[in-house]
């Protein structure tokens, strides 16, 4: 069963022909360069933007954190909290620890908050409500590392019982939290798959011994870099053919960790 379904979503030049399904209970990271259409996609999923073409469905109720948490500049933090607390679905069990950790200046107006403080408030208001689907557009924007840990924990807590879609530039955080990746590029969808699928297709290895055998790999090797007497290679090799060939040629192959951000950078390059 799909929690989020998009079919041929198009909105001006921001997003063109995007289709995907996200399973119920998944935690998906929406990644892509600036201007790729991440926020537009999140707005379309949340229903706050109307698509030019295509359809979208999202299992509700949803809780949506817009990018930068643009609340009315004259609104005070305590008033915003008071209003949201009265809405159906508010869960003090989740929200109160977050608010304590975030240490928000309650008497201040929105226009007196820093970007990070606004995002903290937004995260507390969004994750403090129970929903079937959480749509979080850049929930780490402007956060310091200590607070980001709290936010990641809160997202993980919600992801345990709900569907979460997370648009961000923090590939490392996305890797820690998410089981699906959705990559946007050039205002279209390039990839939507479980993280495991990335892991199966792309690997990073260290090669010792018969390093020249790497030249026989052809297009299986996306990137090769010499480190002293060894080589490090990024492989696009879902069938594990390359490693077998290297071993046959007498090379010693050692798998290396491949963080998502490095993989994205290598792929983008």
């Amino acid at each position: 069963m799909s929690a989020v379904h998009a079919c041929n979503l198009t909105l001006g030049a921001s997003l063109r022909g995007v289709s995907f399904d996200l399973p119920l209970g998944s935690c998906t990271a929406v990644l892509g360069p600036n201007g790729a259409g991440k926020s537009t996609l999140m707005g379309l999923l949340a229903g706050v933007l109307a698509a030019d073409a295509g359809s979208v469905s999202c299992l509700g109720p949803i809780s949506y954190l817009p990018e930068g948490m643009p609340l009315d500049a004259g609104l005070r933090v305590r008033d915003a909290l008071a209003v949201v607390r009265r809405l159906p679905g508010w869960e003090p069990r989740v929200a109160d620890p977050l608010l304590t950790a975030f240490d928000l200046p309650l008497p201040r107006r929105m226009d007196a908050l820093s970007q990070g403080q606004r995002v903290r408030l937004g995260v507390a208001l969004t994750l403090g409500r129970r929903a079937r689907t959480y749509l979080l557009d850049d929930p780490f924007l402007g956060l310091d590392p200590m607070v980001q840990v709290h936010v990641e924990r809160a997202i993980a807590d919600r992801a345990a019982a709900s569907t979460v879609v997370l648009a961000c530039q923090h590939a490392a955080a996305a890797e820690r939290l998410c089981d699906h990746l959705l990559l946007l590029r050039g205002n279209g969808l390039q990839w939507c798959a479980p993280v495991d699928a990335w892991r199966e297709r792309f690997r990073r290895i260290r090669i010792r011994g018969a390093v020249d055998a790497v030249h026989g790999l052809g297009e299986l090797a996306l990137h090769v870099e010499r480190r002293g007497t060894t080589l490090e290679a990024l492989l696009d090799d879902p069938a594990c053919v390359a490693e077998a060939r290297l071993r046959i040629a007498g090379a010693v192959v050692e798998p290396l960790p491949l963080p998502l951000d490095e993989l994205l950078m290598a792929v983008a390059a």
């Binding site: 995907f20 998944s26 109307a50 948490m69 079937r132």
Partner: protein, 413 residues
């Protein structure tokens, strides 16, 4: 669906060959861990209340200052001079009008997507905001009105302009993202609206204030209706992200609605007695009447005369014939009618006021001179089918079935 082969800037031939596009896609759903939430979604009424509450919470200081400013009218209650009362009303009217325009084009509306994203119904939310703003403008105008013992004309115009500015400013929200862009559009709307007003006033209402207020009302209703409707379709339209860019023109043109509406109006109630059994029905005394001139018939019914426009003065002769002067200056209408009320109807002099001379003959035919003529002495024919008009300059004009022409005094019947 995504083609994973296009992931790379230089896709490997192997991966392209091996590529069953869905091979890497997990079609099997993950373990379902989701339990349905046990709460009702946010209702329309809750959304409306939410919008109203947030509008109040985020602007209560500004609103309080505006309400206090309405106390500027207090000296009027304490017996201040008329000019002081009018000045205070003018200032308050300008303040309310400014508030309406500023709130209309207010660009701090991107918060709508947060509230809509939490489940609030966008149209109801927007309606709540609009109601608070309108209520506030009404309170400020109302307080000043209560405190003003004199003619509240400036308050009336200020309040109406505030509502219209608010409505039209609201209509610009779907078309421009920045306040500067919205302000530019608002100016364009005002130009369109002014054109509509010109048409409306030329074609419809005898009473200037009524015409303006009705036009304000239509534009406010159109703009606010568009704002609520568009926010329902796309909450981001409040932040200029909608694509309904021509809505503003429609709203600006809404002022034109006053033109056809006049035909729905009935016979005016304001009357001037001509003879014992004849009554002239003056539209300019009835704020909601059109520009048509009416008179009672001998049988007791009403007759719509074949003439439109501002009726500045009327003189009547035998056989129910009638000389009329039309003027484009609405304020003159009042002055002349006062003169009429004072019993000077047969001889009315209006120095320097050019007007169009017309005659309604005994059989109801309407004749009119093309030239602009001053009001002068009128002598009606005995049969009521023509008249001679003598100006103070000595010119003599004849109006009858042959038209309107200048004649010599000797030629006059």
């Amino acid at each position: 669906m995504a083609e994973h082969g296009t992931l790379l800037t230089f896709p490997s031939a192997r991966s392209a060959r091996a590529a069953d596009p869905d091979a890497l896609r997990s079609e099997a759903p993950l373990e379902v861990r989701v339990s349905p939430p046990e709460f009702a979604p946010i209702s329309g009424l809750q959304s409306l209340r939410l919008g109203a509450e947030l509008a109040l919470l985020s602007r209560w200081q500004f609103m309080l200052a505006m309400v206090l400013s309405s106390l500027l009218a207090l000296p009027g209650l304490l017996g201040a001079q008329a000019w002081a009362q009018q000045s205070a009303q003018g200032v308050i009217g300008l303040l309310v009008c400014s508030f309406g325009v500023i709130r209309g084009i207010d660009g701090r509306s991107r918060d709508r997507k947060f509230w809509a994203g939490l489940g609030a119904a966008p149209a109801s939310f927007e309606l709540g905001v609009v109601l608070v703003d309108l209520l506030f403008m009404t309170v400020v105008t109302g307080v000043a009105w209560v405190l003003s013992p004199g003619d509240p004309i400036f308050l009336l115009l200020g309040g109406g302009a505030a509502a219209a500015g608010y409505g039209m400013g609201s209509a610009t929200r779907s078309a421009a993202r920045s306040e500067a862009g919205r302000a530019g559009l608002l100016i364009a709307m005002l130009i369109v609206a002014a054109g509509c007003a010109l048409v409306a006033f030329l074609a419809s209402y005898g009473n200037f204030i009524t015409g303006v207020m009705m036009q304000f009302g239509f534009m406010a209703a159109a703009g606010l209706g568009a704002r609520v409707l568009l926010s329902g379709l796309s909450p981001e339209s409040s932040a200029g992200r909608g694509r309904q860019r021509w809505t503003w023109l429609t709203c600006a043109g809404a002022g034109m609605l006053v033109v056809p509406l006049q035909f729905a109006q009935g016979v005016p109630e304001s009357t001037t007695t001509l003879h014992k059994e004849e009554v002239l029905l003056f539209p300019d005394r009835d704020p909601f009447a059109g520009k048509q001139l009416w008179r009672t018939t001998e049988g007791g019914g009403v007759e719509r005369l074949g003439v439109r426009g501002m009726i500045g003065v009327a003189g009547w002769g035998p056989h129910r014939s009638m000389m009329i002067h039309r003027t484009s200056l609405p304020r003159m209408v009042g002055i002349l009618l006062k003169a009429d009320d004072a019993g000077q109807a047969q001889r009315l002099m209006v120095g320097g006021l050019a007007s169009r001379l017309g005659l309604i003959t005994a059989n109801g035919q309407h004749l009119e001179c093309d030239e602009a003529l001053l009001v002068g002495d009128t002598r009606f024919d005995a049969d009521g089918m023509g008249a001679v008009h003598v100006l103070s300059t000595g010119e003599v004009w004849r109006l009858d079935g042959d038209g309107c022409r200048e004649i010599s005094l000797e030629e006059a019947p």
